[in-house]
Amino acid sequence: MVIFILLVIIALISPMIYDYNTDIVTQNLRNRLQPPTSEHPLGTDAFGRDVFARIAYGARVSLLIGFIVVGASLVIGGFIGAIAGYFGGILDNVLMRIMDVFLAIPQILLAIAVVAALGPGITNLIIALTISMIPAYARLLRSLILPLKDAEYVEAAKASGTNTWKIIFGHLLPNAMGPLIVNSTLAVGKTIVSAAGMSFLGLGISPPNPEWGAMLSEGKEYIRYAPNLVLYPGMAIMLAVLSLNLLGDGLNDALDPRLKQ
């Protein structure tokens, strides 16, 4: 939790400390591959840019991608899953078979294919990752809704004439929230890794924009002389994912009235 807030703060204040043009993008070849000093707490990269500043800026990009992708796929996938689960029958079959087709393709491969079709860039990366995550959410929500839709309180709501959308959004979704939140925070972490992976492969954020995966990719060539170039972005990814996982657990407990004492 604390780590996560720290990351968000870093992401938010980084533009105040560092100027995008001078500190992040501008190359300063005289300062190449410096070890950590007081001026550059995590050293500099192959182009003489401050690693800490780039990681801080990268946090903005990574977190943004993570949340937008998960948010969008949650809404779209969740919607598909919820109606499939609730209405069942043919609709369920058709929707889920389409999702199965997508699920059969490895997620990263699907994302790569989409980016290859649309071309690299932040927006396309987000679209690609979202599409690749939708089926997982459709599955998840469907499986969460299925046991809930036969609960007696749902029947009670039907008996009192509550309309279908209110039942889905008022009764079913709140009760499916716990696993959904945990899963989503895990998914944000996963997305950050995927985005980093895509960037690493050169399919995501293009240089010189700072992004953790892209930084890893750039740093890998210098791993022998300047391991800090790989080490620190890697640690940033790990910390972000770890803190998101812990956050998910915390949120689940906090949102369940049954666990509040």
């Binding site: 009670a156 008996a159 009192s160 709140p174 009760n175 929230m177």
Partner: protein, 321 residues
């Protein structure tokens, strides 16, 4: 006789399963007069719960009619049915699964009012919810509480308040007390009876517990494997049960008195068979001590043995009054 408030005519609910057709509710003809209680008794799997849900159109009926004040609600459009739901409500068996654990008491009780399309200002809604809570004996300080903070008896009171929220005429009570402790059970039974007196409610009371049914009902229908095997006024059913299954059911209840100790219960062999693709004739025949060849030949009719007391059994000929 007046027009009954609710009547079913040849109501059927079949489920398609792998092995064939499951006759959950088969050809049920019942009627309930306004402000009276019909007790529906039977063991697990006899279709009594399905019957209640079919009547409320929570599950679609296979065929037959459900007449509410003479109108067949199975022919109602979605909009008409939505209006109709104000009149028909349900109280469930399990006070743990029947209320949404994520909602406060206030929201649970207010939901039917909101869903019915009635727009109430916050203040009036507040008043209405408090009034309902008071009616069912819930302290109004619990208005913001979540269900998990309350015990089974209080939860069941919430369930009753929710059912009452729209001022219904007819309530299906599906085993409303069977998951409660005896002392709490008695409190809820008293509450239901008081409410009936006060608001002139009509109940269909579904239960497996004959002593409860005797206490609360005016008329009783005994169900076995989807069929109604006997129905009639409470006193007649208890004083003079006609169907061998009713007799067995009655004598199987353990009575808490010394006198009952010496009485040998009238045991029936075997267990309930499957309601999937039932054989023609009496469905109780495999367990019946009086079974004759005629019992499994052709469908049996409900016969009126004494006024209003019907039984589906070959032991009672139509020639007898």
């Amino acid at each position: 006789m007046n027009q009954p408030l609710l009547q079913t005519v040849g109501l059927k609910k079949y489920y398609k399963v792998k092995a064939g057709e499951l006759h959950a509710v088969d050809n049920i003809n019942l009627s309930i007069q306004e402000s009276q209680t019909l007790g529906v008794v039977g063991e697990s799997g006899c279709g009594k719960t399905t019957l209640g849900r079919t009547i409320l159109r929570l599950v679609p009926a296979t065929s037959g009619q459900i007449l509410f004040r003479g109108e067949n609600i199975l022919e109602y459009s979605g909009k008409q049915m939505h209006e109709m739901r104000r009149n028909m409500q349900i109280v469930f068996q399990d006070p743990y699964s029947s209320i949404n654990p994520r909602m406060t008491v206030y929201n649970i009780i207010a939901e039917p009012i909101r869903s019915s399309g009635t727009r109430l200002e916050k203040q009036n809604m507040d008043k209405r919810v408090r009034k309902l809570m008071d009616t069912v004996g819930l302290a109004s300080r619990l208005i913001k509480a979540y269900p998990h903070e309350l015990d089974g008896g209080r939860r069941q009171r919430i369930g009753v308040a929710r059912a009452l929220a729209l001022n219904p005429k007819f309530i299906v009570c599906d085993e409303p007390v069977s998951s409660l402790d005896v002392s709490i059970q008695a409190q809820i039974l008293n509450l239901l009876m008081d409410l009936q007196d006060e608001y002139g409610l009509t109940y269909m009371f579904i239960t497996h517990d004959l002593s409860v049914v005797k206490h609360i009902s005016d008329n009783i229908a005994v169900m076995y494997l989807g069929e109604c095997v006997e129905h009639g006024p409470k006193d007649q059913i208890f004083a003079n049960p006609l169907h061998p299954y009713s007799q067995a059911l009655l004598s199987a209840i353990p009575v808490p008195s010394l006198a009952a100790r010496s009485r040998k219960p009238y045991l029936i062999k075997g267990e309930v068979s499957s309601p999937i693709n039932p054989k023609p004739g009496c469905r109780f025949a495999p367990r019946c001590p009086h079974v004759k060849p005629i019992c499994t030949q052709g469908e049996l009719e409900l016969k009126e043995v004494t006024p209003n007391h019907f039984v589906r059994c070959t032991l009672y000929g139509s020639e007898k009054p």
